[in-house]
């Protein structure tokens, strides 16, 4: 069972601000989904290997050649928050 404190902690890990009322709502909805996920416990999987990906491709390499990248003005075109060719953000901490 996820507690209110758990929801606050996950919110912090996920960098999503959650207010007091939302904490309770999330707690209820997340618990009902986690309870459903619990059905997997009945399936024995000790000797089963995990499948991360179904595509049968391994070690996809390319030559280490420098290529054209997006010009700086194009990279910055989607924000108003910029200064001297960089993204401007509030101070850290």
């Amino acid at each position: 069972m996820i507690t209110k404190e758990d929801v606050e902690h996950i919110g912090w890990l996920a960098r999503i601000e959650i207010n007091e009322q939302e904490t309770v709502e999330y707690m209820e909805k997340l618990n009902s989904v986690l309870e459903y996920f619990g059905q997997l416990d009945e399936l024995p999987t000790e000797d089963v290997a995990p499948t991360y990906h179904v595509a049968e491709v391994y070690n996809v390499f390319r030559e280490d050649v420098a290529e054209e990248c997006l010009p700086q003005e194009v990279v910055l075109a989607n924000t108003e928050h910029k200064q001297d060719g960089a993204f401007r953000v509030p101070k850290i901490g």
């Binding site: 960098r15 989904v33 995990p50 499948t51 990906h53 491709v57 997006l70 509030p90």
Partner: protein, 475 residues
């Protein structure tokens, strides 16, 4: 000009008149839309069509209009993923599939509505409001490519691109009475498609008939070095369109006809399987015992991948940014205000499933179950050529009916998400109606054997008329 046309008819019309006239006609239909299927109508579509007329483009889709789901990047058109957090974001590059479409001469009509970040089965969670099902405007079109399916069903585009992570092309295809294909994982490049759960999702076409699906696949499929999971299967999709299923072996997995299936859905799908029998195919019941665990496994994997993929949306470089005094508060507030409830719920669950102490219980367990589900498919498909089942257990439900209860909504993906875990190809074709609402038949095949899937779908279509029915709401 007829409202609903196949791609072949559109091409004929372009020859008779012009690409400009055809595009203008579609824009006129879009202008009267009742579906809210588009979130952006391209102001460059007519210009693009005129250019094709002037330059005499020889490509396979010269002048043919197409609608694009709003999570596929098109230079110059906003790419919102149905989310406030990407408000105002315009991609500086085209997705691989868009490059291919433009090279083939296609005209992009606009971007279609979707569940926020492709998370949903109803297209109700979009920041731009829900899309309506053209068969009944009070009902959902299915999701998350609901906009793409609705505009095809409503005659607002001859065909469209969607993306399918757990059924997001096939579900709205079934609910809107159109054809939708989820190709084999790796057959179509995901470069330029905003990632939600990248080990599961594939770009897929939606159209009014199987032939148009094949036409589109011949354009968009193929190897792309910018997607490390891309595989060149060398399939020639249009060549698969043969009206013949003699000797084909069909498996009917009993687990796909589970509790809660609507009786008319079961009747229509079983009727379709008997139709195949009358056309010379054989069928047998097969069992896939781990399918009942697929849904839980799918959601754990999808949410875990989503929590990682969506970490990039922090308000720093593009889209919405909330005001705050320091960086940490800015990111937390931006994500709190920019993401909708369902997206936040999935990020939180995914974060939890990956967090210290729970990784093995949820994420690793889900990956192991994925192996068992894949083995079920391998085993079943070693005995038969194709598997057939209902796409959705029920017809389209009412807008607002399930949105408050996430688990109920998740359960609607029960027949589609196992396919994404296994990575096999699967198509939904119209196979009947209940109370005026379409029903979809799902046809699943072996990896990279789209040819057999398309051949079966095409043969069904040539011998039935379900795909010719049009919704009354928009006529």
């Amino acid at each position: 000009m007829a409202k609903w046309m196949s791609v072949a008819q559109v091409k004929e019309k372009i020859k008779e008149s012009s690409a400009e006239e055809v595009t203008a006609r579609y824009l006129e239909v879009i202008g009267k839309s009742k579906t809210n299927g588009y979130v952006t109508v391209s102001d460059k579509a007519l210009e693009q069509a005129k250019k094709i007329d002037a330059e005499g483009h020889e490509g396979p889709l010269a002048g043919v209009p197409i609608a694009i789901k709003d999570n596929i990047s098109v230079v110059g058109l906003p790419n919102s993923c149905g989310s406030k957090i990407l408000e105002g974001y315009v991609p500086p590059f085209n997705a691989h599939v868009i490059e291919k479409l433009l090279a083939a001469g296609a005209v992009i009509l606009g971007k279609t509505n979707m569940d926020e970040f492709a998370m949903g089965s109803s297209t109700e969670t979009s920041y731009f409001g829900p899309t309506a099902n053209p068969w009944d405007l009070e009902r959902v079109p299915g999701g998350s490519s609901g906009g793409s399916a609705a505009v095809v069903a409503a005659g607002e585009a001859p065909f469209a691109l969607g993306s399918d992570t757990g059924g997001s092309v096939r579900c709205p295809a079934a609910f809107c009475g159109v054809v939708g294909l989820k190709p084999t994982y790796g057959a179509v490049s995901r470069y330029g498609v905003v990632a939600y759960a990248n080990s599961l999702e594939q770009v897929g076409p939606l159209a009014n008939n199987v032939e148009d699906i094949a036409v589109l696949m011949d354009v968009i499929a193929g190897y792309d070095r910018r997607d490390s999971t891309s595989i060149d299967s060398k399939t020639e999709y249009q060549k698969a369109l043969v009206n013949d299923v003699q000797g084909l072996k069909i498996g009917v997995p009993k687990e796909f006809f589970g509790e809660g299936i609507h009786p008319d859905v079961e009747k229509a799908v079983r009727g379709a399987i008997h139709k195949y029998e009358s056309l010379g195919a054989t069928w047998e019941e097969v069992s896939m015992p781990n399918i009942k665990y697929a849904l839980a496994s799918y959601y754990i994997i999808a949410m875990s991948e989503a929590s990682s993929n969506l970490a990039r949306f922090d308000g720093t470089r593009y889209g919405f940014r909330a005001n705050a005094e320091n960086w940490h508060a800015m990111v937390s507030k931006t994500r709190a205000e920019g993401f909708g409830t369902e997206v936040k719920r999935r990020i939180l669950l995914g974060t939890y499933a990956l967090s210290a102490g729970y990784h093995d219980k949820y994420y690793l367990k889900a990956l192991k179950v994925r192996t068992l589900v894949k083995q079920d498919f391998d085993k079943a498909l070693s005995k038969v050529d194709l598997l057939m089942a209902p796409t959705m257990p029920n017809p389209a439900f009412k807008i607002g009916e399930k949105i408050e209860d996430p688990l109920t909504l998740y359960l609607s993906d029960v027949n589609t998400c196992p396919i994404n875990l296994a990575g096999v190809p699967s198509i939904s074709v119209p196979c009947g109606f209940t109370d005026g609402l379409p029903i979809g038949l799902q046809i699943m095949g072996k990896p990279f054997d789209e040819s057999t899937v398309l051949r079966a779908a095409y043969t069904f279509e040539q011998n039935t008329d379900h795909h010719t029915k049009r919704p009354p709401e928009v006529e």
